[in-house]
Amino acid sequence: MISERRVTILNEKGLHVRPATKFAQVAGRFRSRIEIVKDGAAVNGKSSIDLLTLAAEPGSILLIRAEGEDAGPAVDELANLVTDKFGFRDD
C-alpha cells in the first residue's frame, strides 16, 4: 500500500536539526518505508541527517511518501507534524 501527500514547511527556520530529528523519530515508529522528496531528491524519512541534507527552507514543498501496511496513518501523522510546525512554538 502506498500513500503520499504534499506539505509546506511552515516553521521559521525550515527543517533544521530539531525538526528533522523529531520527524525522523516519529517516522521511525512506523513499519512502512518512508521517503521524503524535495525537488526530485528523495531521502529516507527515518534519517534525521538525510532530512537535513534536503535543506528545506521555510515555504519549501515536500512530498511525504510511505509504502507498507501502515502507510496511511504514517502519512497522516507526519503531515500533521509538519503542519503543526513540529510541535515547537519557538521556531
Binding site: V17, T21, A24, L52
Partner: protein
C-alpha cells in the same frame, strides 16, 4: 602501488619515512582499510562508539539545570542525530563493503553529508555543518580512545601529511620527530613553507588531494627541492632516493662546516652581512651554528598564537632575553606584531571583507595601542641588555611611522618614570612591504634607522596576487621588473641616506637571487638559517663587478621568466650540486 604527486617545493631536502595523516582536528586518521577477517570487529567498534557518544551527550544533558536552554536543545539534537538508524547502517555498510576502518568509514560518511549541506547554497543550512562536524569529532574521539596522538609528542619519526597546518599546529610540532611536511593547500610563502624552511624540514605544499592518496603508516618519499611526493615507493625508487638523501646531507654538512667561520665576502673583498630569520627563540643556536651574524628578523607571532593572543610583558621579555642570551653580542632585530584582525580576535573590531588590505600589523597596533605598548615595553627593556632593534611591519605612510615614534617615546618615558634603565634612543626600522612605503622610501628615511624589505608582501601587493591562490600563484614573480625597480630604489635611498637596507623576504633566502641582489648593492641578507651556507658560498665565489654585471643584465629583461632562466644558469655555475 607507487603513487607520484607533484606540488610546490618550499623547503629543500629529502624525507623518507612513514606517513602520519592529520585531519583538521589534529587527530590521527589511522589506516583506511583492515584485513577481511577483522571487518566484524570494526563493526562492533563503531556500534560501541555510537553508543558511547550518545551516552556522553545524554550525560551532559542530565547535568543541565534547564533542559530547554539553548545548550540543552543542541545536546538533544546531537543525541537525535546519533540515533539516526541510517547513520549506523551507512557506516556499517561501508565497513563491510570496502573493509574500511571504523574511523575512516565514519569520517568519510559524515564528510560526505557535510559536503551536501555546504553545496546547498543556503547559509542557514551551511551553518548546520557544525553539528555534523561535532558528531564526527565525538565519534572519532571515542573510536580512537587512547590511540589519539598529540602532535607535540610524537612516538616516532614521521612525515606529516595534512590538508593544511595552522600556525599554532606547525609551531607545536615535535621538530625532532618530523622528517618532512606535505600539505594540500598553501604556496611558496605560506606559513607551513616559512616554518619548514626555517626549521630546515623538507616540505612540499599545494599537493592536491594528497590526504586521500596516503594512509597513515604508508611509506612516503618527499623531495623538497623538486616538489615530488611518492607514496608506497618501489624498492628501486626507494634505493635511488636514499642515495640522493645521503648526498644532500653530506653536501650540506660539508658546505656548512667549510663556511661557518668565514666572512661573507666577495673575492675582491666586498663584505656583506648574512643574518637569520627565526620564528622561535630556540632557533637562535641553530642559526649561529649555520654561520648567522645575528638575527635579522625575529618574528613574534608565536607569542600571540601560544598565549591566546594576549602575551604579558613578562612573556615577551622572557622570549627576547632567551634569544639575546644565545647571541653573544650579535644583532637581534625584533619585529613587532604582524597579525591581522582576521587571525587574531580583537574585541570590537568588525569582520573585514578584505583582511589582506585591512587592520593588520602596525594598523592593528595603532588601533589598539595597549597591544603595542606591552610589546614595546619589553623591547625597550631588553634593548639595554644587548644589540636590539625594533622593526615595524606594514608601514604605508610617514604619518604612521610618526605615530609609532610618539608611542615609543611615551613608553620610554613611562619606563624611565618607573626607574627602569632604558637607552635614550632605541634603534627602530620598518619593513618595506607595502609598495607606497617603497616608493616614498626617501621620505621615510628621515624617521627610521634602517629598512628591511619584506619581499613576500611587497610582491603580493605590487602585482596584486594572492600567493595562496594556486590559480594565480604563477603571477607571483620576485624578479618582475616592477619589483626589481622597487628594490633598487630602496637600496639606493638607503645608500644615499646612510640607512642600512636588508632583504628579509623569501627572495633573500633563494640562492638564485643572491647574485642579483648583491649586484644591486644589497649589503645585508636576512635568510632562513639552512640557506646561509649556500648564500655565503655564492657571495664568496664572485667579484662584486661580476655581480653588478649580472644585475645590469637582469634589468634589461622585460619578462621575469627570462630573468629567472638567466639567473638559474648563472647560479648553476657556482652550485652545480644544487641546481
Amino acid at each position: 602501488m607507487e603513487i607520484i604527486r607533484k606540488g610546490i617545493p618550499v623547503s629543500a631536502g629529502f624525507a623518507i619515512g612513514e606517513a602520519l595523516v592529520l585531519d583538521t582536528e589534529e587527530f590521527r586518521i589511522p589506516q583506511r582499510t583492515v584485513a577481511a577477517e577483522i571487518v566484524e570487529a570494526e563493526v562492533v567498534r563503531i556500534e560501541r562508539a555510537l553508543d558511547a557518544a550518545k551516552k556522553e551527550f545524554e550525560g551532559h544533558l542530565a547535568k543541565l539545570a534547564k533542559k530547554a536552554s539553548g545548550l540543552g536543545q543542541i545536546l538533544q539534537a546531537h543525541v537525535g542525530l546519533l540515533t539516526d538508524p541510517q547513520l549506523k547502517d551507512d557506516i556499517v555498510g561501508a565497513i563491510r563493503k570496502n573493509h574500511f576502518t571504523a574511523e575512516y568509514a565514519t569520517s568519510r560518511h559524515l564528510k560526505k553529508k557535510i559536503k551536501v549541506l555546504q553545496d546547498t547554497g543556503s547559509p542557514y543550512f551551511q551553518s548546520l555543518t557544525r553539528d555534523l562536524s561535532e558528531i564526527e569529532k565525538t565519534l572519532i574521539r571515542h573510536l580512537l580512545g587512547a590511540k589519539r596522538e598529540d602532535v607535540s609528542r610524537l612516538a616516532k619519526k614521521v612525515v606529516i601529511v595534512a590538508h593544511d597546518l595552522t600556525p599554532a599546529q606547525t609551531l607545536a610540532l615535535d621538530r625532532d620527530k618530523v622528517l618532512g611536511m606535505v600539505t594540500e593547500v598553501g604556496g611558496r610563502t605560506s606559513h607551513t613553507a616559512i616554518v619548514a624552511a626555517s626549521f630546515g624540514i623538507p616540505a612540499v605544499v599545494g599537493v592536491e588531494n594528497v590526504t586521500t592518496a596516503v594512509s597513515g603508516g604508508d611509506a612516503i618519499i618527499l623531495d623538497g627541492a623538486s616538489g615530488t611526493v611518492i607514496v608506497n615507493p618501489g624498492e628501486a625508487t626507494l634505493k635511488r632516493y636514499q642515495a640522493m638523501e645521503r648526498n644532500f646531507v653530506l653536501h650540506g654538512r660539508r658546505l656548512g662546516k667549510e663556511l661557518r667561520d668565514l666572512p661573507a665576502e666577495t673575492r675582491d673583498g666586498h663584505r656583506v652581512e648574512i643574518f637569520a630569520n627565526i620564528e622561535l627563540p630556540g632557533e637562535v643556536a641553530a642559526a649561529v651554528e649555520h654561520g648567522a651574524e645575528g638575527i635579522g628578523l625575529y618574528r613574534t607571532e608565536f607569542l600571540y598564537l601560544q598565549s591566546g593572543f594576549h602575551p604579558t610583558e613578562a612573556m615577551h621579555l622572557e622570549a627576547y632575553r632567551q634569544a639575546l642570551g644565545q647571541l653573544g653580542g650579535r644583532k637581534l632585530v625584533i619585529r613587532t606584531l604582524d597579525l591581522g584582525a582576521d587571525k587574531m580576535p580583537v574585541d570590537g573590531l568588525p569582520r573585514e571583507e578584505n583582511p589582506f588590505l585591512g587592520t593588520r600589523a602596525i594598523r592593528l597596533c595603532l588601533e589598539r595601542p595597549e597591544l603595542f605598548r606591552t610589546q614595546m615595553r619589553a623591547i625597550l627593556k631588553v634593548s639595554s641588555m644587548g644589540n636590539v632593534h625594533a622593526m615595524i611591519p606594514m608601514v604605508s605612510s610617514v604619518h604612521e611611522i610618526r605615530q609609532v615614534r610618539e608611542l615609543i617615546d611615551e613608553v620610554r618615558h613611562e619606563l624611565v618614570r618607573e626607574g627602569e634603565s632604558v637607552p635614550g634612543r632605541v634603534s627602530m626600522g620598518i619593513m618595506v612591504e607595502v609598495p607606497s612605503a617603497a616608493i616614498v622610501a626617501d621620505l621615510m628615511a628621515d624617521y627610521v634607522d634602517f629598512f628591511s624589505i619584506g619581499t613576500n608582501d611587497l610582491i603580493a601587493y605590487s602585482i596584486a596576487v594572492d600567493r595562496l591562490n594556486e590559480k594565480v600563484a604563477s603571477l607571483y614573480q620576485p624578479s618582475h621588473p616592477a619589483i626589481l625597480r622597487l628594490l633598487r630604489h630602496v637600496i639606493e635611498v638607503g645608500e644615499k641616506r646612510g640607512k642600512p637596507v636588508s632583504v628579509c623576504g623569501e627572495m633573500s633566502s633563494d640562492p638564485r637571487y643572491t647574485m642579483l641582489l648583491l649586484g644591486m648593492g644589497l649589503k645585508c641578507f636576512s635568510v632562513v638559517p639552512p640557506a646561509i651556507p649556500e648564500i655565503k658560498k655564492i657571495v664568496r665565489s664572485l667579484t662584486i663587478e661580476y655581480a653588478r654585471e649580472v644585475a645590469a643584465k637582469c634589468f634589461e629583461f622585460s619578462d621575469a621568466r627570462k630573468t629567472d632562466e638567466f639567473l638559474l644558469l648563472e647560479t648553476r655555475k657556482i652550485l652545480p650540486d644544487v641546481f
